[in-house]
């Protein structure tokens, strides 16, 4: 028997190697991961390197058209209404944008999922209270809520995250609760109960892994929503204020010039689209990679269909 153990039970390669290998198998997801890595690097180092260039006005370069390669390389994507280079501004804006969107999405997902798990698995009473709370948030126009909160608190990045997170909580809450109600009736949960598993164990080991992929998919879709919601708050004057910049703010600043200088809104808009698209592709890959039933699609070499 000792022999069979050694021969058969070889440990799998380290986790990160197999993860990278699975990522490489899905080329779209691989590109998406690379793009997101670039965005994150921009967010981390962009402001320190390009802050000065991005805020320097140059009235001769007002609404400069893109692809004029005679200009400085930061102007290749064109200039904005005050002649500031768009390329540099997009890189600098990555920090605020990513910080707000990631913060808001992660906060709302964490809080919403936790409440959803409680509502789905604990007593009826707790469930009722949490669900009515969610109804209150949902019935309140989110913009109105944001206006009130930001009027009372100073408009800052932190407060913006709080407001956006609150308005998005019900989405995760309702989804996770509905899924928990279904999953908790499955036989393997009963099997765990019979073994004497604690509530924590059942919720985190058996229920959450089943619910998680759905929530991640919603989160990636929400990412785009949060970026745009943030820009409309900025438009109302209660979000991020110039000279601070975000992609959403850049889109709304470029709106008056849409007919004459499309590139003002187009480039930051493209950045938003590419980021959310990458997130979607990556979450799609993750869903497959996390599911043992589907994982073989990423492990075996693809066969050529005759």
């Amino acid at each position: 028997m000792a022999l069979s153990e050694q021969t058969f039970v070889a440990d799998a390669p380290p986790a990160w190697v197999s993860i990278l290998r699975m990522l490489w198998r899905d080329k779209f997801a691989f590109c998406a991961a690379v793009f997101l890595l670039v965005v994150i690097l921009c967010a981390l180092f962009g402001p320190t390197l390009l802050e000065d260039i991005a805020t320097k006005q140059n009235l001769r370069g007002r609404n400069a058209a893109p692809f004029d390669f005679s200009l400085h390389w930061t102007m290749w994507l064109g200039g904005d209404a005050l002649g500031r280079p768009l390329f540099a501004r997009i890189i600098v804006a990555a920090r605020n944008t990513m910080f707000i969107a990631t913060g808001a999405v992660i906060c709302s997902m964490a809080i919403g999922t936790t409440l959803g798990l409680i509502a789905g698995y604990s007593s009826r009473m707790a469930s009722q209270i949490i669900m009515r709370l969610a109804d209150v948030i949902m019935s309140f126009p989110s913009l109105l809520l944001a206006v009130i909160v930001l009027y009372m608190l100073a408009p800052s990045v932190g407060n913006l995250i709080v407001v956006l997170a609150i308005t998005r909580i019900p989405v995760y809450l309702r989804t996770s609760r509905a899924e928990v109600l279904e999953v908790r009736e499955r036989m393997f949960v009963q099997a765990a109960q019979v073994m004497g598993a604690s509530t924590n164990r059942i919720v985190f080991r058996h229920i959450l892994p089943v619910v998680f992929p759905t929530l991640v998919t919603i989160a990636t879709l929400d990412f785009a929503f949060v970026m745009l919601a943030e820009s409309s708050l900025s438009f109302l004057g209660i979000g991020i204020q110039p000279p601070e910049i975000t992609w959403g703010l850049m889109v709304s600043q470029g709106r008056p010039y849409l007919t004459t200088a499309w590139w003002l809104s187009f480039w930051p808009g493209l950045a938003i689209i590419l980021t959310t698209l990458s997130l979607n592709l990556l979450s799609n890959w993750m869903r497959t990679a996390l599911d043992p039933v589907q994982r073989w699609r990423l492990e075996t070499p693809r066969q050529k269909n005759a």
Binding site: S4, E5, R186, A191, V194, M195, G196, V293, R297
Partner: protein
């Protein structure tokens, strides 16, 4: 004039999947005549349904591909016809009924509408369709059919739904009725009624009946001829009696050898042994509904107590109440003198080690996202006092080998195993806690006959090695006959009879038990003919 009503010649069907081509059936030939009942017998994955699907044009192409062969119906090759011509035949001349009538009836339409739809789809005027529908419902034995015609599928019982499916299939007086596992989801008594109905209808209309089944008992009850299939090929054909009495192919021999209900019945354990579990007056109400009423029974150490009864008789409720998945309304369950029903959570936690459960469907009772190692070792994670973490791996290996799996399987996931292997994993998980009593809720019902026999052998072996007691919930009487020491018969929440297995099977006292025995199907066609006579007698007495 063609030789046969329906003839399949040299049919081969492939399925192209990502993991390579699967030859679902290879070179299959059989025929069906008017007024005859042909059974296709095989275990899951044997390809027994594929040829029927090919007849009904139900194979998805791709991934399926009909590689070769022809299907002659009235001398015309179905495979060469266009889709519209085949639609004209389907339902009208060839009809089909399925295993699970609930999923094949549309829940948002009345049954009357659905039966009429078959006829209106084939250009029968609406008023005639309605009249025929009433006639059919009466014929298949739906009580109060004039009102029930406007009821929805959920308002009927499983047996009634299958009758409705049959009515639907018979609406246009087809020449051939294909029945794919028509009684697998039904109770034994209902199964007997449905099979009797099919047989009567066949005699009345003279149609050919093609029965696809895994149950030799069903074959013995209705089939004239039988085709035995194994991994896509026909291994044997012949009359039902001939195949049962003198099987030629080793596979058929193995299949017939695996049938339960032929061995020695176990003698009851000696008297004077102190029972490990004493249940007194256990009762469970769901609102006003009585699921379990005043149930009392005992389990001795090392004993197998079988609980039999039809669905809804309270068997599973009893199990769930014992494991505290449901709280009992009243009564007590003494485990070594301590009352399970009134235990606090922490007392119960310790007791979980001693009483374990194996569920009906291993596909659902194993978490699909956990590897076999995680599933089995979870027991140690929950009860850390059993084993230090360093020894988990060795113990999991041991357990897997004990239930007949390999240690190398432990990094795989449940979906990579067959049904029987999955149930072994579930048993390994239950054994990890070193229990004294294992509750098996229909633990082998979802498995093929030969796999069933293997799992029962395993359970027997474990009982001998470790002195386990089993509370074995089942609806399959022959299985219980071979496996149990004592039998408890339940009906609508009450225990109607209990005693040693020999007493219950040879000398049942209650009418209900006798009915249950008479309804259960024996694989021997002659015995089955005998039983049918006995059943008719019981019915006449009742009238």
């Amino acid at each position: 004039m063609p030789d046969h009503l329906l003839e399949v010649r040299g049919l081969s069907v492939d399925f192209h999947t990502v993991r390579g081509t699967v030859h679902a059936v290879r070179d299959v030939s059989w025929h069906l005549d008017r007024g005859e009942c042909l059974a296709i017998l095989g275990e899951s994955g044997s390809g027994k349904s594929v040829s029927a699907s090919a007849i009904m044009n139900l194979i998805d192409c791709p991934p399926g591909q009909i590689v070769s062969g022809e299907i002659l119906f009235d001398g015309k090759n179905l495979l060469k016809m266009n889709a519209e011509a085949r639609r004209q035949l389907n339902g009208k001349r060839i009809a089909m009924i399925f295993q699970d009538p609930l999923s094949h009836l549309n829940p948002v339409y009345t049954i009357g509408f659905q039966i009429e739809e078959i006829m209106t789809a084939h250009d029968v005027p609406k008023d005639k369709a309605r009249a025929r529908c009433l006639e059919l419902l009466q014929r298949v034995g739906i009580p109060d059919f004039e009102n029930k015609i406007d009821a929805y599928p959920h308002q009927f019982s499983g047996g009634q739904r299958q009758r409705i499916m049959i009515a639907m299939a018979l609406a246009l007086k087809p020449d051939i009725l294909i029945a794919d596992e028509p009684t697998t989801a039904l109770d034994v008594t209902v199964q007997a009624q449905i099979l009797a109905l099919l047989e009567e209808l066949q005699q009345e209309t003279g149609m050919g009946l093609l029965l696809i089944t895994h149950d030799l008992g069903v074959v013995a009850e209705v089939a004239d001829r039988v085709v035995v299939m194994n991994s896509g090929q026909i291994v044997e054909t012949g009359s039902a009696a001939q195949v049962y009495r003198a099987p030629k192919h080793p596979y058929t021999k193995k299949l017939i050898g695996a049938i339960p209900g032929t061995g020695e019945m176990a003698a009851p354990l000696g008297t004077g042994i102190k029972p490990m579990m004493e249940i007194n007056g256990l009762t469970k109400h769901f609102g006003g509904f009585v699921a379990l009423e005043d149930a009392s029974l005992t389990v001795l150490p090392g004993e197998t107590v079988a609980i039999v009864g039809e669905s809804g008789s309270g068997k599973s409720t009893l199990a769930k109440t014992l494991l505290r998945l449901e709280d009992a309304t009243s009564g007590e369950a003494l485990y070594h003198g301590r009352d399970l029903v009134k235990m606090t959570a922490s007392e119960l936690f310790e007791l979980r080690r001693e009483i374990q459960m194996v569920f009906q469907d291993p596909t659902q009772s194993l978490n699909p996202r956990m590897s076999v190692y995680d599933i089995v070792s979870e027991a140690f994670a929950i009860h850390p006092e059993i084993l230090p973490k360093a020894k988990w791996k060795n113990r999991v290996c041991e357990l897997l080998e004990q239930v007949g799996l390999e240690a190398g399987h432990m990094h795989r996931y449940p979906h990579q195993f067959s049904g029987g292997q999955r149930q072994r994993i579930a048993i390994a998980r239950a054994l990890a806690l070193e229990p004294k009593l294992v509750v098996c809720d229909e633990a082998v019902s979802a498995l093929d006959v030969s796999v069933q026999a293997q799992v029962i052998d395993l359970l027997n072996k474990l009982q001998q090695d470790m002195g386990l007691s089993y509370l074995f919930i089942a609806h399959d009487l022959p299985l219980v006959r071979d496996f149990a020491h004592r039998v408890v018969v339940m009906q609508s929440g009450r225990i109607v009879e209990q005693g040693p297995v020999a007493q219950i099977f040879d000398n049942p006292r209650m009418d209900y038990t006798r009915n249950l025995m008479a309804a259960s199907l024996d694989p021997d066609p002659d015995v089955q003919a005998e039983r049918r006579r006995a059943r008719h007698q019981l019915q006449e007495e009742a009238v």
